[in-house]
Symmetry: D3
Subunit: 316 residues, 6 copies
């Protein structure tokens, strides 16, 4: 492909080609009785409607809603709205289209940091754990889940809710944990392991598609318990892993969301657990504020209230 | 022993013998410099102070606070309060003192129902489960934990907070579950298994001594997750146990306390899970009201407010 | 009428006739200056717009918004939306149109159970009350309000919010009450009377039209106090009705919504009252979950969050 | 009786006589086996223990706990605490002991205002109601309950919790209502009637003894509904009392505690109802602050936090 | 100008002129490539779209969004919606257009009371303060901020949210304060000064344009602290202003929103402060109810729930 | 003085001397009619009662409750409790008794860190602020309040509630702030100034005596507003201090307790303000947990629940 056209650069009259995420797809009957396909395509720059009038059955089998597609189309306008008349369309994948410029981060919101670099940074962090059983535990869990960890968001619609957000969130929290471990005279190994593992269940709570959603396991069990299960399972395979250490790590994970004011949740009951909770809380809210400031489009020094903090924020 | 004297029948000048729970024990120095032991003994009928003046070291090694004791003593009175001058004291157990009349239910509050009978009733209930894998799951977990289940209370200081209270609570809930299963057209096997297993982790959350307290596991993990772990572990050993069935059962257990109004707890997300939560809620509050009515000692038609429901209750 | 066309079967070009609920009606001026009537019609299967161009004044007096109508119309389409060109329209009633197939349950959401059968079931239930004064009380109140009870919903927009929902709700709760009465060793007569009467004020709180709304009395007084008034009034006509029994029944009704966590509401203070509250709570939430599961239209195993339980529910 | 000795003036060695409230009375066995009576007496100035050693059965029948007594006694001291050795004791009443100086306001906390004067003030207020049916309603209810209204407190342990406190509270609120009626352009008759009647049920919610307590009716029904019942009953006997006026008045009473932030209570839905709620709220909190300021005994410009407002209050 | 046409009287085909508030203004490209201006104009009677096709650059510099404009236009209709073809437009001000009938109260919602009269009433009120230093304090603050006080609303979107609403709100509260000062035996001077000054910071919290919005100071500091700063600053210039009096006044202002149920806000700790809070609460809620009743457009005796009180209100 | 006896080392029969805090002092009449003084003395190791039988008037004028005293006494025992028979007593001060070993930190709980060292550390921190106006602001405020800052606790009964606790708390927070400033890419100068100044008002909120209590200013205004006032006042004296910088700093201080879940408090609206809030929250809770762990005296791995976190904490 010679050139890829991002959605916000599409204008009436152009012939374009590019990679997009199909977020809606329906086969319909025109008044004439003929079948056509109604589409919505999206990339990081915007969203556009499209129609397929020819070879409907053929193209219909080529891709599904929720998948990345490669498409060629002419651009027309209908009732003042731009619209693609799709000429050719099919599933896109890194394997077959990577060399033509396809990259998932072009079509879904993604961390601005390079996942591979983040993975390397994280590997260095893990090496700081001195307790060799804890280190082995973390190493093994990360190794087994590498593929998912690298792309997983930290949440669906709250903090770091984009591709590779989980990795970015954990990295930032790890840095804070290292800073604070001496100040509060806590067990660095335990705290760092807690930070690295407390949200690891997200890789099973959230589906690994371009558009994440809750899995059955996520809905039924939730990431706190899943994270702790993953830890317990692997610890069980490590010879001589101390029972009391495991119990503390399990508690840290189960209690990491335990706001002291809330009823009916497990609350952190030793310093490393409290610190993990606080670092999680800090990271989450700093990120929510950052995103709210970046995403607000008001022509004013102040954002609107429609953010996760529910107040106008100062943008300068 | 010829006769056992319950604490509330002890009078000044008597010489008594009996079985009691030692709830406090301290070795102290008298002004003379001599050692003596200060004791508090309790049974279901009351509480009394005691002192050991002779063979202090000898007796000191014979028993600990928190244990059942067999004792002989003379009764005196000091500053208007009855007091035992202990002559002989030692650890009591069903093995060695059962034939003399020792029974733990004499010294700690216990269910009025016979634990063995309750166990039998429960065994019949388990047989009602038609799905043979679910039945096997329940059977095995109960078998493995029989000894603990038979004596465990349902809580430390709330509903059914007495010896064998857990069994009594589960039995009552099971009856309700059977009643409601048809009315709400839910899966009886699943609901019954949920009722039988949702609190099974109490046997690990609470220590199995005469005076229960929270174990480390109880404090760190909590009975909901422990219960679900026990279920998951045993299900894993049952060939062909359906993954989706297990997931539903796990969710029911994790969400059984999920009041809809509370933040940050897992909430029941299918009918059997909601029903389990409701039956749990119903059973707990009916029992709290029953105990509040029985325990109030006001000379009035109305109880005081100092109960778990925080209102005056009508006693007639 | 030969054939009744439900709204979802209406297609462009048809000539149809049928029974519908008029939910909106406005007389407007066309640009030409002529009057026409703008209508919205609804039945259980859907909703459609309509226009009356001829004999506007004549038809305008034939029916009002909120009433059932019988209509003949041609079907056209305007800006992609189907629209009825009404040829003939008038008020529909069971008296005059029943024989042509008119039935209110066709045009408003209604219980799937037959109201008459439910009424009979309920009459059998009342007979189970042994205390003859209580039985007389219930019998008389039901008799006096039969017509309303048979059609009243249990709520406007929450549980059992459809025609005859109140009856269905009370029947289900009565079954549960009978089940639980022995288990918790409570006074069956009192509990059953409580269940049968606690919501009886709904017949005065809600208007008895096809589309229910709150009456003045409902807004000013509320159904709990109204229910209790109805009970107190009739009990006053029954010779020898025990004052203390009446007081307990009044309390049960006034306190049936008394969640223990809420401030400023009366809370149940004896076992039958607590049980009534719990059964009400159980029934309401089981029904809300059932409706949320049935009404969700997502193409997924999980419902959306926009239900009364505010979480995704599992549909399989 | 020559002289009455208030409790705080009692000293060791005195022989005293006076009027007191008996707040505790138990017949006990001395170690000798003899019976004696253990008493606690109270008046507005303090509290003292007493014993009756002679003619125990005779005196035991002369009075009960909760009643006013007339007593003669010698004052001794036991373990550093003053104690009365009762020589003579019997029930006191205004009828028989008024001329000797007995007045209930000496032995229980009472309004500093004269109840009779307050009653007269209130009668003048009632005359300001112009709507003759409303005036008749208020007049009749007050007439029928005069004896109770004159002594009833406004609450057991919150605002105006002393003899004649209800009257004092209503009078103060009425003054405020008259002030505000013009400012907010509301119906004076309706607002004034609301103020005068909203708490009238207190006379049935609280027992009319020297030490008030909740009656059965108070516990089961509560004063809001009782007040509204009393209003509805009398209005029903007044010919031509407008149904809509009654409904509004009933609503005002039922909703007068309806804090907007609270769940599950009826909330005021027209201006007079909102104003009644606000005046009630204002009066209650101003009185709670006044009492907290008067009762604090700290030697500081600031009270302790142990008041109904939970903060230190400024006393100068 | 001969005649001013309010927006709701505009009809297709008219040529109109009038004064309006420009609430939206964008320069756009037509398909032809020509520039045009897209406008939204508003007055108290409604809102209308407009377009400027000629002398675009010239007119574009004549006014901004958020300003009052004077305009001449022809009225056409586009897709069923009226639209102004603007012929002439420019900024309007009282100085230059007052004599032609321009008055800001025609184009933004304003108090129905005359601001000048309210100012005079207020001046009389200030004279009632007997303490000459307090009087001087209030007089000076009002004098310095007269221009802003006269037009400032009391809030952006809650009570008295219209031009001159602050003045109207303070006046009403002052009347109430005078009424209540004797009843509750508080210091009239202090209470009245508190009422007059507690919200004075609104003139800095809210911008003084036709459409108010929060200023930076308002967002960062909030009106309570600003009000108290203004008071402290001026008091510092008054010789001999008692420190303790100032402290009390500062507290009253800082604590005037201190609902007793809320965490983390300063709560009123002496009677005048509590009374100020209560009067503020009363005034605010009475006004919110009044506006909800006036603004509801339902054809029913009851308003919808979409008001600040979240319940249906009775309109008759 | 040869030797100072800490209270926990006092034994019956000793003659002791030492420095203590007098926390209670009352002149009383013995039964003989003679005057004596009843005392309670405290130091960091415990508390003891004392009596002065001789030269009562003379000693009574020598010291007050709340002051440090130097005392000589014989130790007797009364009803099993040790008691001092004071022979000589007078006020102690560093000036006159320092050379004999008096140090306030012996008699009131104090930071384990040396205040002078902490002050030096803090001075180094201030130098890290690059913006010279901000640095000047902080320097000057610290200089002016040095004497108070060095001894002030961080709270009366919550975190760091001991002598020099404020300094210790601010130092710890500053370290965290420096760590986090880069991680979250915020303005270090602003954040550090915020940390150093946000609680500075504590020196005026709390009295500077050995036993701190709230001052009038503390009760009326509160430390957040006081801190911000101190900052604003000094900033006003610094030429060219940017208005917008001051506004941000003021906001950070006013909003530092602004939990997002709480109503009616100012909430942090830019990143440095949010970070200050989070660091404050973190520091406070880590310290509360630390103190709860240190102060618990249970003979168990778990603390009791009676701490500021309301849960059992793990002590190993």
């Amino acid at each position: 492909m010679k050139e890829i056209t991002p959605i916000k650069k599409i204008k009436e009259g152009m012939s374009i080609q590019g990679f997009y995420l199909c977020v809606d797809k329906h086969v319909r009957h025109a008044r004439t009785g003929d079948l056509f396909i109604d589409l919505v395509l999206r990339d990081k720059t915007g969203q556009i409607h499209g129609k397929i009038w020819n070879k409907v059955k053929f193209f219909n089998e080529k891709f599904n809603s929720g998948e990345a597609v490669v498409a060629k189309a002419d651009v027309s306008s209908y009732q003042g709205r731009l619209q693609l008349d799709i000429k050719k369309i099919g599933r896109a994948s890194v394997q077959t289209h990577g060399r033509y410029g396809y990259d998932p981060t072009l079509i879904v919101p993604s961390s601005e940091k390079d996942p591979k670099r983040m993975w390397e940074e994280l590997s260095l962090l893990v090496k700081k754990i001195k307790n060799r059983r804890l280190k082995k535990l973390v190493t093994q869990i990360y190794k087994e889940n590498k593929e998912s960890i690298i792309v997983c968001p930290a949440s669906l619609s709250s903090h770091y809710n984009y591709r590779s957000g989980l990795l970015e969130c954990i990295l930032s929290m790890s840095g804070v944990a290292l800073d604070l471990t001496e100040r509060y005279n806590v067990d660095m190994d335990l705290l760092l392991a807690g930070v690295l593992l407390h949200d690891i269940g997200k890789v099973k709570e959230l589906s690994n598609r371009l558009e994440s959603e809750l899995t059955d396991e996520g809905n039924f069990i939730g990431h706190s318990v899943i994270s702790r299960d993953m830890v317990k399972a692997v610890a069980g395979t490590i010879k001589g892993f101390p029972k009391s250490l495991l119990l503390k790590l399990e508690h840290m994970i189960l209690a990491h969301r335990g706001q002291l004011e809330w009823r009916s949740s497990r609350k952190p009951n030793f310093p490393e657990a409290l610190l993990l909770h606080q670092i999680h809380h800090l990271e989450k809210h700093m990120n929510l504020m950052k995103m709210a400031l970046e995403q607000d489009e008001e022509n004013s020094d102040w954002t609107l209230r429609n953010n996760h903090l529910f107040i106008p924020l100062y943008k300068r």
